[in-house]
């Protein structure tokens, strides 16, 4: 006993990246008192008030898989442009069935490389499900019935670039492919320049007798426009940088530019119609890896993609031209889940991309729904409401300055400092740091991660759940018997979205009977009025086109002999269930 414990200790020590002593951790845990809704003594201790590089996320994912081998598996689903693995955690209770036999939820984050917290939020779902499993009946049932495929970053190369290289809050957004943005025949010849060497690309201003701004005498961080009849003494020069190639433009050809969220294969359009598109759908290896995984996992019925920012729970269509793709039946389900989300995540609003945000082609959520019939949301994480529980509007500079004064004590801002610029002479460089504004400050991360995770768990809960019930026999005389079975779906999502039915995206659900000699098989259209639709070929395996959400279908067989028969239902998105006499 003692020996094994020591061995474990050594393994734990070896695993621990931070070299924290496990003895200390154990001792400390004795002093903890449980807070409701959070893992009390997690096997994997993750600090939720900071961000992790791609390797940092993977390290936690590997630790989760190692600590919970019966609940979590890790795999690489492909490689990024720079050759990094795209790592995915599969979370389910493996003791109750294969992951692919259960309805599944796909979760990813960070498709836009600067929208970093999707990585931590996705990781939080995996951590929460595995660490709470032992103590929570709801999660035990959830992981018995469902599978989660969680890929915290689907843009690992540029995630690391955002952290480790100079950037603004909005760059790189694309992945690390460098294109020719100005059409001059050279790619990436005029990248951003971190002139003051602080890792942040901020703003350049210059004293000027003809300037139209002054510095606020009460707050030197703040540049104020002067009135139309007033003279100022500062001018804005724009983003921190230089003209590296001598064409008279500053920072005009950096990383990218392309948009990984214009690369998906539903009503894809080229760059001149949809800025940011690449050559053809799934040009980008990161997206292609996700697409191939989803094609190989037809059990995925729900999906969630984490972006930032603005506090939105978004559904498609992304493009107005796709309005007819989303029909009322499915929108009812989208609305029911999305509106619940508004309650669960204060400050977030449930919206539709094309009319409330912008009208775009080639987005991930449209591919998931339009091409695969998967109910999908994109959450735009972080909303300024979280700062003071007040609606001050997006990108409100006065509020941001106040936040940095009262809540983050100057950590968010690079104060203006003089710099001798080769093209502009003496300038001043300063402004908000790249990790402020769109990214949560540390103290808001855990709460918002929890609330967004709870939303995706609610979404996953409402993927279909099928059972075979109410099996009835009727003697027809002459050695014949009628067997009627009800297939019930006790969740909101149908096994086939209406989009799926329209295009026959996924195979029908099969309801099979074994151990009986089948003479004829029918789908029951109206039991009371005795309306049946016969299936002439292979009646022992009835094809049912859909099992609606919170609804049922009935199947009837006429059999010439049946004793210990069993009935199974096999649905791509609805999982499997069986009944035995």
């Amino acid at each position: 006993m003692k020996i094994t414990k020591t061995t474990k200790l050594i393994v734990a020590l070896a695993l621990s990246a931070l070299c924290l002593s496990s003895i200390e951790t154990n001792a400390q845990q004795e002093n903890y008192f449980r807070a409701i809704g959070s893992p009390h003594k997690p096997k994997v201790e993750i600090a939720w008030n900071r961000y992790y590089s791609a390797e940092g996320l993977w390290d936690w994912m590997k630790k989760i898989a190692a600590a919970h081998p019966k609940l979590a598996k890790i795999e690489s689903i492909g490689k990024s442009f720079e050759g990094r693995d795209i790592l995915t955690l599969t979370i389910t209770d493996f003791s109750t069935g294969k992951d692919t036999d259960k309805p599944a939820m796909w979760i990813d984050g960070n498709i836009h490389s600067n929208e970093i917290q999707g990585g931590e939020f996705s990781l939080y779902v995996a951590w929460y499900l595995t660490e709470m499993h032992a103590d929570t009946k709801f999660i035990q049932e959830l992981l018995r019935d469902k599978t989660f495929y969680i890929t915290p970053t689907i843009n690992p190369d540029a995630r690391n670039n955002f952290f480790k290289e100079p950037n603004t809050a909005n760059s790189p957004r694309s992945g690390m492919i460098v294109l020719d943005n100005d059409g001059d025949g050279q790619a990436g010849e005029d990248m951003m320049n971190d002139l003051d060497g602080d890792g942040h690309i901020t703003m350049m201003i210059r004293r000027s007798p003809t300037g139209r701004f002054i510095k606020d005498p009460l707050d030197p961080r703040r540049l104020m426009a002067v009135g139309p009849d007033q003279v100022g003494d500062y001018e804005m020069l724009g983003q921190e940088g230089m003209d590296n190639d001598g064409d008279g433009e500053v920072n005009e050809d950096g990383i990218g530019y392309y948009d990984p969220n214009r690369d998906w294969g539903w009503n894809w359009q080229p760059d001149y119609i949809q800025r940011g598109a690449m050559r053809y759908p799934f040009t980008l290896p990161e997206n292609r890896a996700v697409m191939e995984f989803v094609m190989k996992h037809p059990n995925i019925a729900g999906a969630q993609s984490f972006h930032n920012s603005g506090g939105m729970i978004l559904r498609g269509p992304g493009a107005e031209e796709d309005l007819n793709t989303y029909n009322l039946e499915d929108i009812r389900i989208y609305d029911a889940i999305g509106k619940k989300g508004e309650e669960m995540i204060p400050g977030y609003r449930y919206l539709t991309v094309y009319k409330d945000l912008y009208s775009v082609f080639g987005g991930e959520l449209d591919w998931f729904y339009g091409n695969r019939g998967i109910f999908t949301y994109t959450n735009e994480l972080m909303v300024p409401y979280l700062y003071f529980n007040k609606e001050a509007g997006r990108g409100n500079q006065d509020e941001q300055l106040k936040v940095d004064q009262l809540l983050t004590f100057g950590d968010a801002f690079v104060d203006f400092k003089e710099y001798n610029h080769p093209q502009f002479g003496t300038v001043e460089i300063g402004g908000f740091k790249k990790n402020f504004g769109r990214a949560h400050p540390g103290f808001l991360l855990e709460q918002d991660a929890h609330r967004n995770s709870a939303f995706t768990i609610y979404h996953a809960y409402h993927t279909p759940k099928l059972s075979v019930m109410d099996v009835k026999e009727e003697d027809l005389g002459g050695g014949l018997k009628a067997i009627t079975a009800t297939i019930f779906n006790e969740r909101m999502m149908p096994t086939h979205a209406s989009q799926d039915l329209k295009y026959r995206i996924e195979r029908p659900d099969y309801v099979s009977i074994t151990g009986a000699k089948v003479v004829a098989g029918f789908v029951v259209e109206d039991e009371d009025m005795k309306k049946f639709k016969e299936q002439k070929a292979s009646p022992e395996k009835m094809a049912v086109e859909n099992v609606p959400g919170m609804g049922a279908v009935k199947v009837k067989w006429i059999v010439s002999s049946a004793s210990n028969y069993s009935i199974t239902v096999d649905s791509a998105k609805g999982g499997k269930a069986s009944w035995k006499k």
């Binding site: 001059d184 025949g185 294969g265 080229p270 001149y272 759908p281 031209e321 091409n371 195979r507």
Partner: protein, 528 residues
Amino acid sequence: MRKFLLTGLMLGSLICSDSFAQSDYPTLSQVTQRLQKLGSNSAVELKSLTKTEGGKDIYVLKVGTGAKDEKPAIAVVGGVEGFHVLSVELALQFAEKLVAENAAVLEKTTFYIFPNMSPDAYEQYHAALKYERRGNAVPMDHDRDGKMGESGYSDLNGDGMITWMRVEDPMGEWMVYKDDERVLVKADRSKGEAGKYRVFKESKDDDKDGEFAEDLQEGIAFNRSLTYKFPVFEPLAGDIAVSQKESRAMLDYLFEQWNIFAFVTFSPANNLSTPLKYSAGDAKKRVVTSILEKDQAINAMVSGIYNETVTSKAFQQTNQGTDGDFFQWAYFHFARLSFGTPGYWTPEFKGKTNAEANYLAWADSLGWNSFVPWTVVKHPDFPNQKAEVGGIKPFVMANPPFEKVGKIADEHTAFILKLAEMQPKLEFHNLKSESLGNGLTRITVDLFNNSPLPTHSEMGARSRWLRKVRIDVDATKEKLVSGDKIKLLDSLGAYEKATFSWIIRGTGTFNIKAGAPHAGFATQTIKL
């Protein structure tokens, strides 16, 4: 003895295959041999871009001399449809004639030749069972019932060809055509005509679902799976555009070749006999579905040249693009000038309006045996009805007898060479060098596009996948008193000029370079 003779003959024909005139469209291995022979020429780079699911190479020939990436280029594409075997031969013969007889054009123009984009389907022409095939070799569920290719063609009459099948049935929609009893037409029920037949491709209902030949044993068709108007979820198209090895490999290659200004595609779509029409409404929508106005004028001009060069008069050439095809992709999504022609069609004959009747009358007049007479077969799915197999043989309507190909290839080669002569051509004119005193010189020059084509079509100017016209001067920052060191132009129109001037300090030489890969480059040296 007889066997020996036969073997000897076969061997002889193999050895001497070069000296014998080809009598039929080449097999894939014959195509490869001819490509390899071309590849031995110093102006030709032969490259296999990938292998298809069926294990066939997708070849490209890059033909050019000197700085070939800096010369405007034309891409010639064949095998866009697998059943259109003529197109492969036209692309091949163009390459052969280019290298052997017209190498001088390579001084100014580079060529990319993709002889066969559908080798998996092309092979069906020479297979034991011949039919007009479009799809490659990937397994596919065309009817989306969860099973792959379970209900394809059946050779019911055992003639080695898939033709048609008609079943006598008063509920059928088809009737015999009044002018030619071999031909079936749809009954016009609004005129009180009754149908007599149901008509299907020659097949059985293998999966007993009541449908015939609805899930073919072929995969994705190249010419139905590109991104422009991609027919998602439809047979031969699949779920995702550009999903196939051959389409991805070709596009990845094309996106790296910046010098292509025009495509000539041999496929059923035709905008050369008659140019595309312009629709202001469709051109102005966010998703553009009409050729743009200025590009329509270019199309009309090039169409005029085609009709002067190619003698065959257009008849029933109504295909100006189909969903997911290559010819439209090259313009609408790749933003290059795109010209397409099938190369061959049945000419109008004795005023016949029905395409099949017209073809048969013409074929009869030439003594071609291209019809399988309707013959009764025992059909398992129609035990109590009269079922007959027959119809026009596969391939013959889209592809002429091989002996006709030589003339078609000559005329189309001449057309492509005329198109090359029209390519954008940048020149410097009216160079002026004025001394301003104190060591300053003002240089003024016109950059002129001496071509009936603009450097960028209206569509091309919108695309990031064409480079802008870039004007560079090699003066240092210290020497350049005014004027741009680097200047970018979105487009220079047909016979249009742009004027530039710089003020330079000091002496020495001063070089100007202007151009873009697809428009060519011009240079000018000035002694100060």
